[in-house]
């Protein structure tokens, strides 16, 4: 292994600019003559718009234009769309209400965008927005997802009767019901998967710029997938065809899913720039605006059941879930509680019968879509809470119950679509148990009790499906796009390399790990490799970064393009060294001729390819540049075992996580330092869900958690240091053998925390987030017993 090749703990190439203040995020970019866009937003959760009077605002100092939904309709600016079609069990297509870029006729959540003011300065735009007079007829709000389907609940969209977007099912209901009838034991849990705000530290931002001379638009935006943004804004919003629209996602300060989606503000900045005569229009969300308008995550209400026989063998699993979609269907919202959720309900276990029903509902709250893990954390939460609860009810060790039901042979076809290709679930559980000294837990629990602390331990044996491909498979499930990835390798005449990738890096470290792959393959140092991404004018097309897909899909595309580079370079080298191509070998960055001392470094061959003096250009084209598109043959299936140990202060309800071990199987690992960082961050987000975070609306639909004063982000002192290790089964569906690591921590963590907490308290459930108050309430039985 070289210092910069696959497997090296190489320091990140991108870090220098970030640690010196030279990162270039969207808000750091200022275009000449730039104006500011400010959005007037609805103060009501649900209201009809009777009239909007913008006359005073238009005359206010510094104002260039004021635009409303009526203007958008007049200019044929389409709405934003949901790109994944789900059909209900009766075969009917999902009921997607319109999502105009500025409200038309009705507002559907607090923060819904009503008008935009474009002015020279931010202060002018805000002052002018105060002068817009909107006459609302306030309607009752529908906030509770469970109540939303009841007769008489306020209707969010006319098209969706009883606020129901779809009633979807997966699995064999009759067979599963039969399995439950024959069960020796049934475990039932009612679980709420709390609504979360993704909270990338960089708030969303956009600059739209229209060039009247070229009739061409440029959008700078905080996006995880600029090409998909361009596709949607072209094909569905209809603002401009793709060749007339350039989308640039420069440095992006975290995404976690929330920057996958195409948001109204991006469209409005582009359109407003044209309406303001070509003045670039910049909008930067403040944090309050982010809380109101960023797509949220999770928000499931589920009844889950697990059927077991007398020996603890699982016979079946049933789940009925109500998934809150919010007021509009965001870009991939419909896929999250369906194909990214119910398909993982088999967990790591042999479960012969599974049946899931999911009702997706509209409410007068901000939209809900993919957030780190997207459906898979919800599935893991159901499966792993059921396993731990079942073990307690059956008086079995939870580790033993899991071990008895692990899938041990591969490939394994589950009853819910997925075909797991490789894994060793016993190995990761065994290692995790050794690391945390599972056998010594009772001693530690007694020691904790002596100092007034309730100590608990909880497992989470998660599995996830990453890559989200092959394209034909996701297409058959309703995806409106293919989920392949593209790459182009440009070798310069001096032998340095540029990689153009459709993946987008917003913290993942692609500039380092992708360069490590090239370094490994071509035998050149990683600092001679540049990674180009995030600009539709530079990279032809790409599907972006989400679903832990950039390694398994994006890097495989690069690898395929490198195969082509190597093949062509071999031809060139053979001619230059006057040898037969079959005698040329490429190793450690050099082409050599078998049985001779003839040798050329990679850079020399690159130069020869461009000079083109020594090979017939009628047979071999000059230059050295190749591209590839890669569509995987299967999802990848990272899995692992996380164990959380925590202590609860019985007097205050404060929970402290005292130990955490994670043993993950990500297949081959390109850079362990970066992979560990991904796991740390994922666990922290999962712990945040379990212990501190929740988006809360009041009955009228007002957001109560609209700032960091009220929405409790995990701080450094809420978390322990984590202890990580890995097991490895190579992924058979890509040549690099990698599975993906970006979401694992967030998928595993909530169940581990809540299993530990319920074990500490001796209760069946505590609502997430398990704030001191929720924990204290859950301890009422202990206080009563003491009295």
């Amino acid at each position: 292994m070289s210092d910069t090749g696959i497997g090296a703990r190489m320091q990140r190439k991108e870090d220098h600019r970030f640690i010196t203040g030279k990162g270039r995020y969207t808000d750091d970019i200022n275009l000449p003559g730039q104006a500011v866009g400010y959005f007037l937003r609805s103060p009501h959760a649900h209201a009809e718009i009777k009239k909007i009077d913008t006359r005073k605002a238009e005359k206010a100092p510094g104002v260039l234009c004021v635009l409303t939904g009526e203007d958008a309709a007049a200019d044929n600016i389409g709405g934003v769309i949901c790109g994944w079609m789900i059909h209900s069990k009766d075969g009917s297509p999902m009921k997607a209400g319109p999502h105009p870029v500025l409200a038309q006729g009705k507002v559907r959540h607090v923060g819904d965008q009503v008008a935009v003011v474009v002015a020279h300065t931010s202060a002018q735009a805000k002052a002018a927005a105060e002068l817009i007079n909107v006459t609302y007829k306030v309607l009752d709000a529908n906030v509770d997802p469970v109540a939303s389907q009841k007769r008489g609940a306020p209707q969010v969209h006319d098209v969706a009767s009883r606020n129901t977007v779809f009633e979807w099912e997966l699995g064999d209901k009759a067979a599963t019901d039969a399995a439950f009838s024959s069960a020796a034991h049934v475990t039932t849990l009612d679980l709420v998967n709390n609504r979360l705000a993704p909270n990338a530290m960089e708030p969303r931002a956009a600059i739209g710029s229209y060039d009247a001379g070229e009739d061409h638009y440029t959008l700078y935006t905080t996006s995880q997938n600029p090409h998909v943004a361009r596709l949607v804004i072209s094909a569905f919003v209809g603002l401009a065809p793709e060749h007339k629209l350039r989308v640039i996602a420069p440095d992006v300060g975290g995404g976690f899913g929330s920057k996958i989606f195409i948001y109204a503000e991006e469209v409005v900045c582009l359109w407003a720039s044209r309406r303001a005569g070509g003045v670039p229009v910049k909008w930067v969300a403040d944090r309050s605006e982010a809380f109101l308008t960023d797509a949220n995550g999770r928000d499931h209400v589920t009844r889950a059941e697990l059927a077991t026989d007398a020996n603890g063998k699982i016979l079946g699993l049933r789940a009925k879930t109500i998934a809150n979609m919010g007021a509009y269907l965001s870009t991939f919202a419909s896929s999250v509680p369906t194909y990214l959720y119910a398909t993982l309900l088999s967990g790591q276990y042999n479960i012969p019968n599974i049946y899931a029903e999911v009702d997706a509902v509209y409410t007068n709250t901000s939209p809900v879509d993919a957030y780190r893990g997207a459906g898979r954390p919800e599935a893991t939460y159901v499966v792993e809470r059921l396993m731990e609860t079942a073990a307690r009810e059956l008086n079995m060790d939870p580790a033993e119950l899991r071990a008895r039901n692990f899938i041990n042979s591969f490939p394994h076809q589950t009853p819910v679509i997925m075909c797991y290709d490789a894994g060793d679930y016993s190995a990761s559980q065994k290692k995790a148990m050794e690391m945390i000294d599972y056998a010594g837990f009772e001693k530690r629990k007694s020691a904790a009790a002596r100092k007034g602390k309730l100590r608990g331990i909880g497992f989470s044996n998660y599995i996830e499906a990453c890559g989200i491909a092959p394209s034909a498979a996701v297409g058959s499930l309703g995806a409106g796009v293919g989920l392949w990835e593209s790459a182009e390798v440009r070798v310069n005449p001096v032998g340095t390399v540029e990689i153009l990738t459709g993946s987008h890096s917003h913290g993942q470290g692609h500039e380092t790990t992708f360069a490590q792959l090239v370094s490994d393959r071509l035998g050149i140092p990683a600092d001679q490799v540049a990674i180009v991404h995030g600009d539709t004018d530079k990279v032809q097309f790409g599907m972006g970064t989400y679903g832990s897909r950039s390694g398994a899909v994006g890097m495989t595309a690069i690898s395929k393009a490198l195969d082509k580079i190597e093949a062509k370079a071999k031809k060139v080298a053979a001619h230059v060294m006057e040898a037969s191509e079959s005698d040329v070998e490429f190793k450690d960055g050099s082409f050599s001729v078998k049985g001779t001392d003839k040798k050329m470094a990679f850079g020399e061959v690159a130069l020869s390819a461009y000079v083109a003096h020594k090979f017939p250009t009628s047979e071999i084209e000059p230059g050295l540049k190749e591209g590839a598109f890669h569509d995987p043959t299967n999802f990848t299936f990272p899995a692992g075992c996380h164990i959380c140990e925590l202590e609860v202060d019985a007097d205050t309800g404060v929970t402290e996580i005292v130990d955490w071990v994670a043993v993950d199987d990500f297949g081959n690992i390109i850079n362990p330092m970066i992979v560990e960082g991904q796991v740390h961050g994922g666990i922290a987000q999962g712990v945040g869900q379990a212990l501190t975070e929740a988006v809360v609306y009041d009955e009228g639909g007002q957001l109560l958690t609209g700032s960091y004063m009220d929405y409790c982000m995990p701080r450094a002192d809420n978390l322990p240091s984590f202890r990580l290790d890995f097991t490895k089964t190579e992924c058979p569906s890509n040549p690099l053998g990698i599975k993906g690591c970006g979401e694992a921590g967030a998928i595993a963590a909530p169940a581990a925390v809540m299993n530990a907490l319920t074990s500490a308290l001796g209760v069946k459930d505590v609502p997430m987030p398990a704030s001191p108050q929720n924990v204290w309430n859950a301890m009422a039985h202990l206080r009563e017993a003491a009295e």
């Binding site: 320091q11 990140r12 991108e14 870090d15 220098h16 600019r17 970030f18 640690i19 010196t20 203040g21 030279k22 990162g23 270039r24 995020y25 808000d27 750091d28 202060a123 909270n199 990338a200 530290m201 960089e202 708030p203 440095d251 992006v252 300060g253 975290g254 976690f256 403040d286 944090r287 309050s288 917003h506 913290g507 993942q508 470290g509 330092m673 970066i674 560990e676 960082g677 740390h680 961050g681 994922g682 666990i683 922290a684 987000q685 700032s707 960091y708 004063m709 982000m713 701080r715 450094a716 002192d717 978390l719 240091s721 984590f722 921590g745």
Partner: protein
């Protein structure tokens, strides 16, 4: 509009600002130093931490006019003659950053912790002192390690 002057990263700067202009707006918009970030509007996240007269403050919560005559240090001024500050070096070495957005504030806060608490920092001290800085990417694990290592080398 009031005219103000201050020393930023050792250089004399001046400008006209509105009374309501925040220090972070002056630094980012007037001076074009965009390494100092704004991540919230309630003085919680710490992405905007700079040093004013040697002490860490949140530049989103100070008026530019209130810093008239002050000496301000931002992330851009830490490296000297092309040599990184030990705290910057430690963040890179220990992978204390991912998306980089909170990083300038974390590094400025980290240096301030060392000034106040010394070079030998316990993990729990660092965790407690970071209460005013939010990171969403790293789970703080490597930030804590980086500050500990950077402190030892300062």
């Amino acid at each position: 509009m009031p005219a103000i002057s201050m020393t930023v990263n050792g250089e004399k700067v001046c400008g006209e600002v509105e009374g309501r202009t925040l220090l972070v707006e002056f630094i980012r918009n007037n001076l074009g130093k965009t390494g100092t970030h704004v991540g919230c509007d309630t003085s919680q996240c710490g992405a905007c931490v700079v040093h004013v007269d040697g002490k860490a403050i949140k530049s989103c919560t100070a008026l530019a006019v209130a810093c008239d005559g002050a000496s301000v240090d931002t992330i851009e001024g830490l490296a000297q003659n092309g040599k990184l500050h030990p705290m910057q070096e430690a963040f890179r070495e220990h992978h204390g950053l991912q998306c980089g957005f909170c990083t300038p504030g974390m590094i400025m806060a980290g240096i301030d912790i060392v000034k106040r608490k010394g070079k030998k920092l316990k993990e729990e001290t660092i965790r407690e002192e970071l209460e005013g800085n939010i990171c969403r990417c790293t789970g703080y694990h490597n930030i804590v390690k980086a500050i500990q290592a950077g402190a030892a080398k300062m």
